[in-house]
């Protein structure tokens, strides 16, 4: 079962009370001891590098605290939070940029991954195995290398993308050409293209899910006279909704932290016209460029709250549109 299904299964599993835990006897006690012993690397790691820092991060958010002068740290209550939510226009501007990009890039990425999986699953496709390998290959290209290559491919004059568009009869090069990385309207599409080089995992799990759809479903639909498109929409899509859901959750969480592409391309200066001032870039500047630990921690906690809210919303909404075969949920 996939991670999120297992998560659901664990939620429905046994609930322990502290008293039951402490009153274990004999063989059960021995088993619990060994289980926790094997788990201890992760338990220690979780406590030290997840749990404790999260708590401390929240405490930091109540302080005015720069790393260069830690002795000057002072308690300011919720001042950082008030500043972030009410006074600092950057918070909402960078969130707006982040969500705008997510709303463009997410549907394109998810639909592309699904459609490519359908294509790679087609019985009419010759050389399916080699095709699958080749479609996965760009995902293996290190992100930095991909960004550096794409930044040149997207060059309005010498880049191959505009030159290819020229071949179709539309003028994309030249003085009034399409300036992918300099035009605030095109930049999100440009970033989306770079992102499309990372959808290999999404394609793979879509593909694995498609292979699990029972062929009888298609056969009976065929007999009923359903065409290809109708079968795709009424059988394939519902059957792979668990995978779409899984990809959706991971993509949303990833997009919230979108950072590397704008950082490598423009050093995080927001070019052009502030259109690439993403929330994570702003957090990076506050926390690490200005070493503003208190305010940085506040921004990070807010990101956590937003991410948690979206994740909870997605899990709630999943009950209405995610189809789990053979399960009553």
């Amino acid at each position: 079962m996939d991670m999120f299904t297992e998560f659901g299964a664990a939620r429905g599993g046994r609930r322990w009370s502290l008293r039951a835990a402490l009153s274990l006897q004999g063989a059960q006690r021995d088993e619990a001891k060994w289980g926790l012993l094997f788990l201890s690397p992760w338990l220690i790691g979780f406590s030290l590098f997840y749990f404790a820092p999260m708590v401390v991060s929240f405490i930091f958010s109540l302080y005015d605290f720069t790393l260069s002068a830690p002795e000057d740290a002072r308690f300011v209550g919720l001042d950082n939070w008030a500043r972030m939510l009410a006074q600092d226009p950057n918070t909402w501007e960078t969130l707006y940029v982040t969500f705008k990009f997510a709303l463009i890039s997410l549907p394109i990425g998810m639909v592309s991954a699904f459609m490519l999986a359908v294509l790679l699953n087609s019985q009419h496709l010759l050389g399916r195995n080699i095709m699958r390998t080749l479609f996965y290959a760009p995902t293996m290209v290190p992100l930095i290398a991909a960004i550096l290559i794409w930044s040149r491919v997207l060059n309005p004059h010498t880049g191959w993308l505009n030159q290819m568009i020229d071949l179709t009869g539309i003028q994309a090069t030249g003085i009034n050409g399409w300036r992918w990385l300099d035009d605030p309207n095109l930049i999100y599409l440009a970033y989306t293209f770079i992102g499309l080089w990372g959808i290999g995992n999404a394609i793979l799990i879509n593909l694995a899910s498609l292979q699990g759809v029972p062929t009888e479903l298609y056969e009976s639909a065929s007999i009923d006279g359903a065409g290809w498109l109708r079968q795709l929409w009424s059988i394939t899509v519902p059957m792979v909704t668990p995978v779409i859901f899984y990809n959706l959750v991971l993509s949303v969480v990833g997009l919230l932290q979108f950072f590397i592409v704008p950082y490598v391309l423009n050093g995080g200066n927001g070019y052009p016209e502030g259109s690439t001032n993403f929330y994570m870039i702003y957090f990076y500047k506050q926390a690490f460029t200005f070493q503003n630990m208190g305010y940085g921690a506040t921004l990070a906690w807010f990101m956590f709250i937003i991410g948690l809210a979206i994740t909870i919303f997605l899990f709630w909404s999943g009950r209405f549109w995610v189809y789990y075969a053979g399960e009553n949920r």
Binding site: P41, I44, F60, R152, Q257, W301, T311
Partner: protein, 355 residues
């Protein structure tokens, strides 16, 4: 008889239709693939061009060099000159606004040829020329050997640590009953959707200010030694498929829990362990944010990712060198993927598909 003939005709048309469909679908896939992989071809081809060619929109697509000609001790560009006898390839020796003087490289003894027209509108003559030299130059300019050594050291040290720790934890989840097991499991999955930023600020302050580990790899290596949720999940799923009988037999023979784990479970989980090791290797090869903040100020410790980014900032006009470096950095992961794709793909599928 008649019925039989109709049947074969039906079969034939069905086969023909199938062939047509095959051709159409395959062709469609090939076109999409070509567009999808186009930047890769661009990267490799452009990395073999001269600097002049990379910035010239009119230059040929394949690596080439503008032809020049030595005439009386000086070097002149050879241009495509339209004449009454068609286009000639002549070297431009004296530039003028309305008229220029040329020399025919095929017959320099014939001397100066006068030509009327604006030489600025003439295109150079390109001849194929591959700049293999860009690769050693990029390698040395970026000091790739050092970046590679840093990256490999980081990747291998953390790979061993994280796989060992993840395997232990996964075994704990897969085979033992203990209090709050489900809760801990849910918390572990939860860390996957936790934005790392929320733990970053105090961790950074602790590593850099309290322990003084700024500029070293320690803040990146130490946390990796405690496993990671993806790997634990994947290994747990695999351990669950191993039958319990073998462990029970080992225990009857007197093997302890640790012995059983090391000598019975681990050898059977080699495919899953390989997949997890590969995932970690690729993660480490790509890791950018951690090295960026923790190694700031210590350029000698840079991994490939940060080194490439700095290189791109410093030499932004040397497109051919930047692309050569980028191509070098993508060879190892691509090579490993092509060699080990079966285990690798299986691993991805396990975490994301309900089967």
């Amino acid at each position: 008889m008649n019925k039989n003939k109709n049947y074969t005709e039906y079969e034939l048309s069905k086969r023909r239709r199938n062939l047509l469909l095959q051709a159409a679908v395959t062709l469609f896939a090939l076109v999409i693939l070509a567009v999808y992989l186009m930047p890769m071809a661009y990267g490799v081809i452009t990395s073999l061009k001269s600097k002049a060619q990379t910035s010239d929109p009119g230059a040929p697509i394949l690596p080439a060099e503008a032809l020049s000609f030595d005439y009386e001790g000086d070097r002149y560009d050879v241009l495509q000159v339209p004449t009454e006898n068609g286009i000639r390839h002549w070297a431009l020796v004296k530039k003028g606004r309305r008229a220029s003087e040329f020399v025919d490289p095929a017959d320099p003894a014939a001397g100066i040829i006068a030509w009327e027209g604006n030489w600025r509108q003439l295109e150079p003559v390109w001849e194929p020329s591959v700049q293999w030299d860009n690769y050693p130059r990029a390698w040395e300019t970026i000091d790739f050997a050092r970046l590679l050594a840093n990256t490999l050291l980081y990747a291998f040290v953390t790979m061993v640590g994280t796989v060992a720790a993840s395997a232990c934890a996964a075994y704990g989840f897969a085979r033992f009953n203990f209090p709050f097991k489900n809760l801990l499991f849910m918390v572990m999955i939860g860390t996957i959707v936790l934005p790392p930023a929320v733990t970053l600020v105090p961790t950074y302050a602790f590593f850099v200010n309290v322990l003084g580990w700024g500029g070293t790899w320690l803040p990146l290596i130490v946390p990796a030694m405690f496993g990671n949720a993806y790997n634990i999940f994947l290994l747990r799923q695999y351990f669950l498929t191993i039958p319990r009988e073998m462990e029970e037999a080992a225990q009857i023979d007197g093997a302890g829990r640790v012995r059983t784990f090391v000598s019975v479970i681990l050898p059977q989980a080699v495919p899953a362990l390989t997949a997890v090791s590969l995932f970690h290797f690729f993660f480490a090869w790509n890791d950018f944010f951690g090295p960026l903040i923790y190694l700031a100020g210590n350029r000698d410790a840079n991994p490939i990712t940060v080194g490439l980014t700095e290189f791109n900032g410093l030499y932004s006009t040397e497109t051919q060198l930047i692309l050569a470096a980028a191509v070098i950095s993508m060879v190892p992961p691509l090579l490993i993927f092509f060699l080990a794709q079966r285990v690798f793909i299986q691993g991805i599928v396990v975490t994301g598909v309900d089967k």
